[in-house]
């Protein structure tokens, strides 16, 4: 299958290794990966901060960039949820009905990574090797908006060498919430503190999730604590193999290119 990769603005700009890992994984599974050059952002940050009018041209750009794509995959539950639940709605509210229809049609073909692997490709064992103790945080938008359920856990359980430990109170929000993390920084930090306490209680080396944004928040807190536990995106774990895994992964790429 020819898969168009939507890196998402955050991954593209701040943690490109997550997009490289997604591409490497999909190619290893035998699919052709294309990266439309005009892509930028899904518009979620604008919508959720109240700038829904300003989000419309961003949605238009997204629809232009991915026009004609057969399947679109993004390593983010949150951005995919926004594409599914918000893009068409903000366009429609602004009276841009043609754009809304196109956005809705594109959303039909847009998948979060774990959903794409399990539901569309029908694989749970992606042939990965990752010899680390790992705990999984189900991010809120993957959990409650996309309902990815235990798909990420199915994928992780099939990874060779991986020691999966359950995260206590896993369904509790980590406190990121986009601009909430800054506008209500102290409440956000109180939520983060409890999430970190739960992560550290597992004695995992790695906390993983399907959203780079929440991981940047959790990882930023863990790094500030000098805790030694690091955050690694699900895509990086699934892309890792005996040949490609790198032993020093903190904020450097998990997968050698």
């Amino acid at each position: 299958m020819r898969v168009a990769l939507f890196a998402t603005c955050l991954v593209d700009t701040m943690v490109p290794q997550v997009a490289w890992a997604t591409a490497a994984l999909l190619e290893r599974l035998g699919h052709e990966v294309v990266v439309p050059a005009g892509q930028s952002c899904c518009g979620q940050m604008h919508v959720n901060t109240g700038y829904r009018r300003e989000a419309v041209p961003i949605v238009a750009n997204h629809v232009r960039a991915f026009a004609g794509a057969e399947a679109i995959v993004a390593p983010s539950g949150s951005c995919v949820a926004s594409i599914h639940h918000q893009q068409a709605a903000v366009a429609r509210r602004a009276g841009e009905h043609a754009l809304a229809d196109e956005a809705a049609a594109l959303a039909e073909r847009t998948y979060e990574l774990s959903q794409f692997l399990v539901d569309v490709l029908g694989v749970t064992d992606v042939g990965a090797y990752y010899p680390h103790r790992v705990t999984y945080h189900p991010t809120c938008h993957s959990l409650r908006l996309l309902r990815v359920g235990d798909r990420p856990l199915q994928l992780l359980r099939a990874v060779r060498g991986l020691d999966l430990v359950e995260l206590p109170a896993a369904d509790q929000c980590c406190g990121f919430g986009g601009t909430f993390a800054v506008k209500n920084a102290e409440t956000s930090t109180a939520m983060l503190t409890d999430k970190m306490a739960n992560v550290l209680s597992t004695h995992a080396e790695v906390c993983t999730a399907g959203d780079a944004s929440c991981l940047m928040h959790i990882g930023g807190g863990l790094s500030r604590l000098r805790s030694g536990t690091r955050t690694v995106h699900l895509a990086e774990i699934l892309a890792a193999t005996e040949e490609a895994v790198s032993p020093h992964q903190s904020t450097r790429p998990a997968v050698a290119r």
Binding site: A7, V11, D12, T13, M14, V15, P16, A19, W20, A23, V35, A37, Q39, S40, C41, G43, H46, V47, N48, T49, G50, Y51, R52, E54, A55, P57, I58, A60, N61, Q86, C140, L143, R144, D171, Q172, C173, G175, F176, G177, G178, T179, F180, A181, V182, K183, N184, A185, E186, T187, S188, T189, M191, L192, M216, G220, G221, S223, R224, S250, T251
Partner: protein
Amino acid sequence: MTAVFLGIPTAPRGVGHLRGDRSFPDAARDSLRDGQLRANLGHATATIRGKRAAVVGEVPDWAELREAGRAIKAATMARLDEHLIALEEQVTARGGTVHWARDATEANAIVTRLVRATGADEVVKVKSMATQEIGLNEALEAAGIAAHETDLAELIVQLGEDQPSHILVPAIHKNRAEIREIFLREMPGVDPTLTDDPRRLAMAARAHLRERFLRARVAISGANFAVAETGTLAVVESEGNGRMCLTLPETLITVMGIEKVVPTWRDLEVFLQLLPRSSTGERMNPYTSLWAGVTPGDGPQEFHLVLVDNGRTAVLADEVGREALHCIRCSACLNVCPVYERAGGHAYGSVYPGPIGAVLSPQLTGIEDNASLPYASSLCGACYDVCPVAIDIPSILVHLRGEHVEAQARTTPEAVAFRALSRAMSNPRLWRLAQRAAGLGRFLARGRPTLPAALPPPASGWTRTRDLPTPPRETFTQAWAREHGG
């Protein structure tokens, strides 16, 4: 707010409890520092979350019930005016008197006049959100009438000269030891050997209240539901104290928000299943009192129903926000909310705290008076999942943020930034330039994997407690294009 709202009055200022004197982040700062409050709330909400999940899980058709609840509410709101008039006709036909109050000030004046007419200088009260919302106790006090709260938790709040912090358990922020201390200090004639044993505390409250029940000539209640077709009012409670107030006094005055009406008797079948499981985690509610008008020789012989708008019509005018009027005040959304659990109810500044408060209060008052509330959420969605009438609170929060931004008269620095970012993100060439500029941030790190902790605002809001990774030299899309020829 927007043009839709012009002309429809919101809840007036200077009366009632819908507005705080500080923004949410400011008020939350204090409660976040209060370790005892955090412990009390964390413990209480975790317990009730578990109970709710267990009893909801055992209902095989919960999803259908929830959808029925949502549908009944939506249909009722669509013809609210007709249902209210039908309710008035039925209540009147059964010997009650209906009063219409545009806002808190009018409602308080009506109730004060009615109590005065009886000659009483005190009233007993059934726990009620509507009377808290309009500040009725303060209005009565100003008129020389003492209002005694009879719900145990409301009593604790009243004796402690505190504010409620939860819609079902107003004293949720207090633990047993603190309650014992309040009783010892404030309850006349209390046994000085009182311990913090729940039973001893309940018995002390019982003795204190019993005297007031037997003495009271006037009671004031709210209503959970009002059935238009029969004129029946319903109060759902678990202590029996409400039942005392509803049956013993000569005069009963019920103050009810106009959104509490349901069209038919059968509708209660749905809500009386949804409410107890969602709120207290019980299969069936212990005390459900239902009455219509007056019955000669049985219960209060004079009944008044005060229908309060206080901004509700303005909420109804907003196509997205009006769903907030479907709320049956079960408090499930508070109990699952990670923000409520940590910041506590007082941080919301309104009698309606938590997720529902964050969407209801700003709509009742007009967004300019509660502008920080729609942002007091990480949009985790837990509230929507548990709401027994499926109010999509996260979507309303996002909608109200949009209303707030669009109502701003002057351009804020944030708006300038978001508009510039929007222009960049909708133009690939500009976007690549913006990404390159962001990438320059890596020089601040001077070779370290994270940026310095001391960054200027607004980045400081992040970096005070969290490291920011150093941006890479090249973005993914640029590197991909270079390697794959794009």
